[in-house]
């Protein structure tokens, strides 16, 4: 049988090693992929009315959209015993549907060799010395809408209610931006070729970023970081539902979760995972830190995001 996974395609070789190869052995099936960013993959799935892939990795904002479109089926928790070992917030972040397999933060990174003084606040993005050295996530990505939220904060207004002031603040940001990136690896490329020196990103990219550019730093922000949960769901059209459950259970097992974290792929959500100090330093890790993160209300953000799309285009695409 062929088991199809839809994910970002990020960290391809590590995923292959840690997840795909062992799982192929386990299930005796052949694993194939569909790759692309959240929006792209979700839309293709919608076009196929939920068929074509067996499991889909999405960030919570997109899995929420998928759930609203009726694309996913409930997870039979009896078939996924490992869910019980997860932190509470990861077990059922969106009701009966898929669990979170990792938790992350959205914050800022910068190349310490080229940015001085260091970044300490979201407001630093507007700094004049950062002209043409910034890449922000495109609005169609998970982190994109957060840019709008931060612009609202910078302007001192509520982004949901005062769009004009919010986008005016974004427009001020435009000269600093080289391009908006669509995938994390695109952003890494931009760093490694020297195209940019500051970016907004999720913490899971940090390992790869440091590989490419050792002088990259995760900014310690005085004004807080944003939580993101990545979920795995089983689409309604999955042809291997049982295997899909088996896969989710596999991915959530303590061993895999630990390996992924140690290899710099994803932060663990399995509460039983013990990390080495270096790995622990890199991730959102431990009950305490996880409790401190702020969660986004996607029921408010998702509709706003569609409204913002055109204004965003007008701001950055002109």
């Amino acid at each position: 049988t062929t088991f199809t996974i839809s994910w970002w395609g990020f960290n391809g070789d590590k995923m292959q090693e840690i997840i795909v190869n062992p799982f192929q052995e386990l299930c005796g099936c052949e694993v194939v992929f569909e790759t692309g960013n959240n929006g792209d993959r979700l839309n293709r799935l919608a076009m196929r009315s939920g068929a074509g892939v067996d499991v889909i990795y999405l960030t919570d904002s997109y899995s929420q959209a998928g759930i609203e479109q009726g694309l996913f089926q409930p997870i039979d928790r009896a078939q996924v015993p490992n869910i019980a070992e997860l932190y509470d917030l990861a077990q059922a972040p969106q009701g009966e549907f898929g669990p979170a397999y990792t938790v992350g933060r959205i914050g800022l990174v910068y190349d310490a060799a080229r940015v001085d003084p260091p970044i300490t606040s979201w407001n630093d993005l507007w700094r004049a010395d950062l002209a043409s050295s910034l890449s922000l996530p495109n609005i169609t990505t998970t982190a994109g809408p957060m840019v709008v939220l931060q612009a609202g904060r910078h302007a001192g207004v509520d982004a949901y209610t005062d769009e004009d002031a919010t986008f005016a603040a974004l427009a001020e940001l435009a000269p600093n931006i080289v391009t908006n990136y669509n995938t994390g690896s695109e952003m890494i490329n931009l760093f490694s070729t020297g195209e940019i020196s500051v970016s907004m990103t999720q913490d899971f990219t940090l390992g790869r970023l440091r590989d490419a550019v050792p002088t990259i730093e995760w900014a310690t922000l005085t004004d807080g970081e944003i939580a993101v949960l990545n979920t795995i769901n089983i689409p309604t059209g999955s042809e291997n539902v049982e295997l899909a459950h088996q896969f989710i259970n596999f991915v959530l097992s303590a061993d895999i979760q630990r390996q992924l974290a140690e290899q710099g792929v994803d932060a663990p959500v399995n509460a039983t995972v013990e990390l080495s100090p270096e790995a622990a330093g890199m991730w959102t890790y431990g009950q305490e830190q996880i409790d401190s993160l702020q969660r986004i209300d996607y029921s408010q953000l998702n509709p706003a995001r569609d409204r913002w799309l055109d204004r965003w285009n007008e701001t950055f695409g002109m």
Binding site: S6, E34, T193, A212
Partner: protein, 262 residues
């Protein structure tokens, strides 16, 4: 001709050629770099990025798909297009003029619009599986090239040869295979090469028609480029270029390049 060309014009032409060929040389250099990111001139010398093409299963998979699409799509286009080109030339008077216009439409309609329209009608509405939809797209893409190139060689084909064969007792269908086809061979080969290259390099149609597990090499290249910026892309490019050179040498040896230049 005896007219002299102004030296500045010659200089300009040299610059144009540098502009045309320079980047290809740079890709070649970059593919040999030992670094994980792209540089030119290359630092260190390594073939590991060529090795990498083979190691990444997605490349293997998509190369196979691309070759399938190119061979099958071109094959079908030849089967469908040669009779059409033959009819256009042989029965010019009895067929309506709009037919030849219809046959060039796929060139006139932007590829990306074709891709989008096929996605909606063929994949979504008709529910054709991805692989077949992709094949339909590629076939459609190359049909006009086949018809045009084969038509060009039929236009210079002397149909009295066909009549000669018939008058000597060869039935029309057999005559097509024993007399007509051998004499438009170079046109058919040219059509094949042109279609093959068009298909294997296509982005715009494939962009919409690829799906889970089924992707073509250029689309995979684009995806890979979004995720990695290592010299693998350069290596793939070099392999593609070497393939192209190989094809061109074969073409030159067998037919002369004038055919491609048409």
């Amino acid at each position: 001709m005896a007219t002299r060309i102004h030296p500045l014009l010659i200089l300009f032409t040299v610059l144009v050629y540098v502009f045309l060929l320079g980047p290809l040389i740079i890709i070649f250099g970059a593919s040999l770099s030992d670094t994980t990111y792209l540089t030119f001139p290359p630092q260190g010398l390594s073939f590991r990025w060529f090795q990498n093409i083979w190691d990444i299963s997605a490349f293997r998979r998509t190369i196979v798909t691309s070759l399938q699409m190119a061979f099958l799509g071109t094959g079908i286009a030849l089967i469908v297009g040669i009779p059409a080109a033959y009819a256009l030339n042989r029965y010019r008077v009895t067929l309506p003029g709009w037919l030849s216009t219809l046959f060039v439409l796929p060139i006139l309609v932007p590829e990306i619009v074709i891709g989008f329209s096929l996605l909606r009608s063929v994949t979504v509405q008709a529910g054709v599986p991805v692989w077949y939809a992709l094949l339909i797209g590629h076939t459609l893409l190359v049909i006009p090239y086949v018809i045009r190139v084969v038509s060009a060689s039929l236009a210079s084909f002397d149909f009295s040869i066909e009549e000669a064969a018939i008058s000597l007792g060869s039935p029309p269908a057999r005559t097509f295979f024993t007399i007509v086809l051998p004499n438009i061979r170079s046109g058919v080969i040219a059509a094949f090469i042109l279609s093959f290259i068009t298909s294997i390099n296509d982005v715009s149609v494939s962009l919409f028609l690829t799906g889970p597990g089924v992707s073509t090499l250029p689309i995979q290249l684009l995806a890979h480029m979004e995720q990695f910026f290592d010299p693998t892309i350069a290596s793939v490019s070099v392999v593609l270029m070497l393939l192209t050179i190989l094809v061109m040498i074969i073409v030159e040896r067998t037919l002369g390049l004038a055919i491609v230049a048409k």
